[in-house]
Symmetry: C2
Subunit: 146 residues, 2 copies
Amino acid sequence: MEQAQELFKTFLHDHGQKYTEERRIVLEVIESFDRPFEAEELLLALRRQQHRVSKATVYRTLKHLVECLLVNQIFFGTGKQSYYDFVGTQRGHDHLVDVQTGKIIPFSSPEIAALRDRIAREMGFTPVAHRFQILGKPTGNPREAH
Amino acid sequence: MEQAQELFKTFLHDHGQKYTEERRIVLEVIESFDRPFEAEELLLALRRQQHRVSKATVYRTLKHLVECLLVNQIFFGTGKQSYYDFVGTQRGHDHLVDVQTGKIIPFSSPEIAALRDRIAREMGFTPVAHRFQILGKPTGNPREAH
DNA sequence: CTAATTGCAAAGACTTTGCTGTGCT
DNA sequence: AGCACAGCAAAGTCTTTGCAATTAG
């Protein structure tokens, strides 16, 4: 069994909850995403793969995954829905948001992580996660359309 | 007239929009907040000061303020609503979120701003704003309640 | 003057919840 | 048996929008 599944199973068990087939499938599909996704995308991906998991279960499972830190819940403000980001992947989990198109570009910055740890410690906290977004416009396009 | 009001007025004018009394009042009240606030809080503060501004106008005005970068819209995920942060204040605009209580503590980090500028440039973007949140739990309270 | 704005209530988008029947353990 | 679950549809929360009257420039 993969590491993320193991972690999830243990987390659920420790909280008196069950590692059900639906939850396993949801995490499995999430692991296949290579960028932040919306709840609706996840639901569609499940359906495409012939898995019958209800919307309610998807939302409930996402909540559990966020709690156990396997998934980071992010709000970009490009719509009103949440995005979810599977933390197990190798790619970056910080994001640049193109304010002109709403496109989200993940990147990685070890400096951010180091800064996060230092700042949290200085403020008397133990860091659990962070969210870092840069809003920007493509250089060379400095003019705004009125 | 204060600087923020000037900026707002100019922004509105440049976009063929009007600097109305309602918009002036909304910005005025926003300037009095010393931490991120919700739309509802703003509405209540307006009412408390005997100002009759509708909810629709509050939301519409917030949207304009966000567009002209006087206000940063932030999503903490502690509820499903947006928070708004007036950028004109001196205090920090990065935030530490206590995951145990949901409390939001602003802080300031020049390094984050520098990092933001460098990363955006390297990726071919001009930074417009950023959002940085650290989720953490108070040190010395490492144990989670089950 | 006349396009932009306001307030209100209704509509909308996304998420959560109550309930009923199932399934682990 | 006994608690946790899944699915469904209804309810909820926050935000946006249509419309008629009003106002800034």
